[in-house]
């Protein structure tokens, strides 16, 4: 692969409430690539996802996160998002009173406002995405994810089932068009049909303009979304990286095989 990786994590150490969770993790994700990050519970997978996104309570004690060659450590979550980073939440929070459509339009317009401000130096008033264009976009992406149109009028994640929440996360990814997307346990809590729909949605979005980091506890989602690279995380570090075959090996041998820590190879 050529050029600077869109996402480069270098020797990252992260503490949560004074306890070190990530202990020198390194990882590179380029556009067009699909990475799977696997690991047992408590290995620090979700901490990594949220650190990348800019969760304010996680403290990077050392190391570096570069996005498109620039450090994001001083950037807030909203700036990282607008720069092209996305995370599908493991537990999306409800925003009562705010409809999915209203929220997505606001999120899209926040991107436009910043782009316009960068371009012209002044933010044009009321120059958001035209309502008609937005409705068409929303309809198209909802169809892609087999979502009922009525969801657009529902309050964001409020009273959503587990499957609806995960689908809504992928919908947001489809609308916001990130360059690098982190899917934090998007497969957890999904029945097989919902998993298939979500995976189809992800597959429809991947391509040369999108790099994906799928974080998962189980190998299951990888039956539907084929990763180019598989990493296994144990105790705050990536223990082993490899190709798709690594996921299958884990599936048959379990994580204990790694905890013994004997067979460590780096590609």
């Amino acid at each position: 692969m050529s050029h600077v990786p869109e996402l480069a994590v270098k020797n990252l150490h992260v503490a949560v409430e004074g306890k070190e969770i990530l202990k020198g993790l390194s990882l590179e994700v380029r556009k067009g690539e699909i990475h799977a990050l696997m690991g047992p519970n408590g290995s620090g997978k979700s901490t990594l996802a949220n650190t990348l996104m800019g969760y304010p309570r996680y403290e990077v004690t050392s190391g570096e996160i570069l996005f498109k060659g620039k450090s994001v450590l001083e950037m807030e979550a909203d700036e990282r998002s607008r720069a092209g980073l996305f995370m599908a939440f493991q537990y999306p929070v409800a925003i009562p009173g705010v409809s999915v459509a209203n929220f997505l339009r606001t999120a899209l317009n926040a991107r436009r406002a910043v782009q316009d401000a960068n371009g012209t130096g002044a933010m044009p008033v009321g120059k958001g995405i035209p309502p008609k264009e937005f409705r068409a976009l929303l309809r198209e992406k909802m169809a892609l994810l087999h979502m009922d149109e009525s969801v657009a009028g529902r309050y964001l994640n409020d009273g959503f089932s587990g499957g609806e929440k995960k689908r809504a996360e992928i919908l947001q990814m489809a609308i916001l068009k990130p360059e690098i997307a982190i899917l934090d346990e998007t497969d957890s809590g999904l029945d097989i049909d919902a998993l298939r729909v979500v995976a189809e949605g992800v597959n429809a979005l991947v391509g040369p303009d999108l790099g994906v980091l799928i974080i998962t506890h189980y190998q299951r989602i990888l039956n539907y979304v084929k990763p180019h690279f598989v990493h296994v995380m144990v105790d705050g570090q990536i223990q082993i990286s490899g190709g798709p075959e690594l996921a299958l090996k884990l599936e048959s041998l379990g994580y204990d095989w790694l905890r013994e820590g004997k067979e460590v190879t780096t590609p």
Partner: protein, 446 residues
């Protein structure tokens, strides 16, 4: 009302009452109404300002106003407006494009504009200034004006009844489903005004209507006081949507007393918003007086800077098989303060009462304060009454989630606050009114 602390303002003297009576006489007010003014004036003279020992005044201090009351002018009037163009821009912008609603527009002490579209007039719907209603529809007012809001409630209500200026009368005959809303406006032109309108709304048996009252002004120098009263009567099986939207300028003290009585099978959708004024105190009481009646109450207060809001609601279940469901939301920034004081009363024998009361508060700053004081008085044994209150700051997890989608913190907070108000906003019956309110909220969020 305790009167131990005798601080009767010298301003309320024979002169004010006498002048109000002379004006009313000249405008052709019937003898019984004049007599009630005199009686109210007597009561006012015997009362003092509400004592701060009183449970409803313990947390709201009108002292600055009290010192000024005697300097206020209860007789300021504006000339009648021939056309909508003669009205203040804020009102004009709110009624432009609305050709179907009935309008009664009050400016300071008097009604300056009224309009009843032919479609409503044909239905027999009345929407007119109280002054004219007392001449033309006296038979409908003898039992209703003062029927729910008694002059001896407190000093402010007493002077309001004695000095009454303006207000509206709305009447929807039996069986009539009013084809368009009735919109009432109150505007205050500046400082130094004392505005005391009294309005009465009557729905006949099976009638249906929507009434929206908006109280607006620009911030001016000098204190003004609005001390209005509203009495709302819902006949058997009638349905009313009633909205009271308050957005006074910051020089206004607001003290409203609104009462509604619901007869058998009647349904009330009550919406109340408190945004403006320097201090605002609102007492809204709902009497479920007929079996099967239902009152749904939704309101919010949104204060900033040093605004002080106090909303007191009373859900009175007087007979069996009645329902009330109340949700009051409060959002505060800066050094603003709100008090919500809610009481559910269930009378003896009012079995199968179903009453709910919820108060949710969102604080946007560390210096804002919200108090929630719920209460239950239950004298029946087969009832379901619940209440709950919450006070909290913006949830950091919600902020993080929205920011992770690219919303700058201010936008994220705006969306959360809008969402917080949505359950109330969604119930506002007129789309343009709802939109206007959204803009006011957005502006206030900053």
């Amino acid at each position: 009302m305790t009167t131990t602390e005798l601080r009767t303002p010298t301003g309320f003297d024979v002169e004010w009452a006498a002048r109000a009576e002379a004006l009313a006489t000249r405008s052709g007010e019937p003898a019984w109404a004049l007599e009630r003014r005199r009686a109210a004036a007597e009561i006012a003279r015997s009362l003092s300002f509400p004592s701060r020992e009183h449970e409803l005044w313990r947390r709201t201090d009108f002292r600055t106003l009290e010192a000024e009351v005697e300097k206020l002018d209860p007789f300021a009037e504006s000339p009648a407006a021939r056309r909508l163009d003669d009205l203040p821009p804020a009102i004009r912008s709110r009624v432009t494009g609305d050709d179907t609603s009935a309008l009664v527009i009050q400016r300071d002490g008097g009604v300056v504009f009224e309009r009843v579209p032919a479609s409503l007039a044909r239905q027999g719907v009345i929407a007119c200034p109280m002054g004219r209603a007392l001449r033309d529809h006296a038979d409908r007012l003898t039992g209703t004006l003062g029927g729910l809001l008694e002059s001896d409630y407190d000093w402010y209500v007493a002077i309001g009844a004695a000095l009454r200026t303006g207000g509206a009368f709305v009447y929807v005959p039996d069986g009539v489903d009013a084809v368009a809303p009735v919109r009432l406006f109150h505007w205050i032109d500046g400082g130094g005004r004392l505005v005391v309108p009294r309005s009465v709304v009557v729905l006949g048996r099976g009638a249906r209507a929507t009434v929206v009252e908006e109280l607006l002004s620009e911030t001016a120098d000098g204190i003004s006081l609005y001390a209005g009263g509203t009495e709302v009567y819902l006949g058997d099986e009638s349905k009313l949507i009633y909205g009271t939207l308050q957005d006074w300028g910051r020089n206004v003290y607001h003290y409203s007393n609104q009462r509604a009585r619901l007869d058998r099978g009647a349904e009330l959708q009550w919406i109340q918003t408190v945004l403006g004024g320097r201090m605002a105190k609102a007492n809204s009481y709902f009497s479920l007086a007929g079996p099967g009646s239902q009152a749904y109450v939704h309101g919010f207060m949104f204060g900033d800077q040093r605004q002080h809001f106090h909303l007191h609601t009373l859900q009175r279940h007087l007979v069996d098989h009645t329902t009330s469901d109340l949700l009051i939301k409060g959002c505060l920034k800066g050094r603003a303060r709100s008090i919500y004081q809610g009481l559910i009363q269930v009378s003896e024998g009012a079995q199968r009462t179903d009453a709910y009361q919820a108060n949710r508060n969102l604080l946007l700053s560390d210096t804002a304060r919200a108090d929630s004081i719920p209460g239950l008085e239950i004298l029946a044994n087969d009832v379901r009454c619940t209440h709950g209150a919450t006070i909290g700051h913006v949830d950091p997890e919600q902020m993080y989630y929205l920011m992770a989608r690219g919303l700058p913190p201010a936008e994220a907070q705006r969306l959360i606050v809008e969402g917080f108000f949505a359950p109330v906003l969604d119930r506002i019956p007129l789309e343009n009114v709802r939109e206007q309110l959204r803009q006011v909220i957005q502006h206030k969020i900053g």
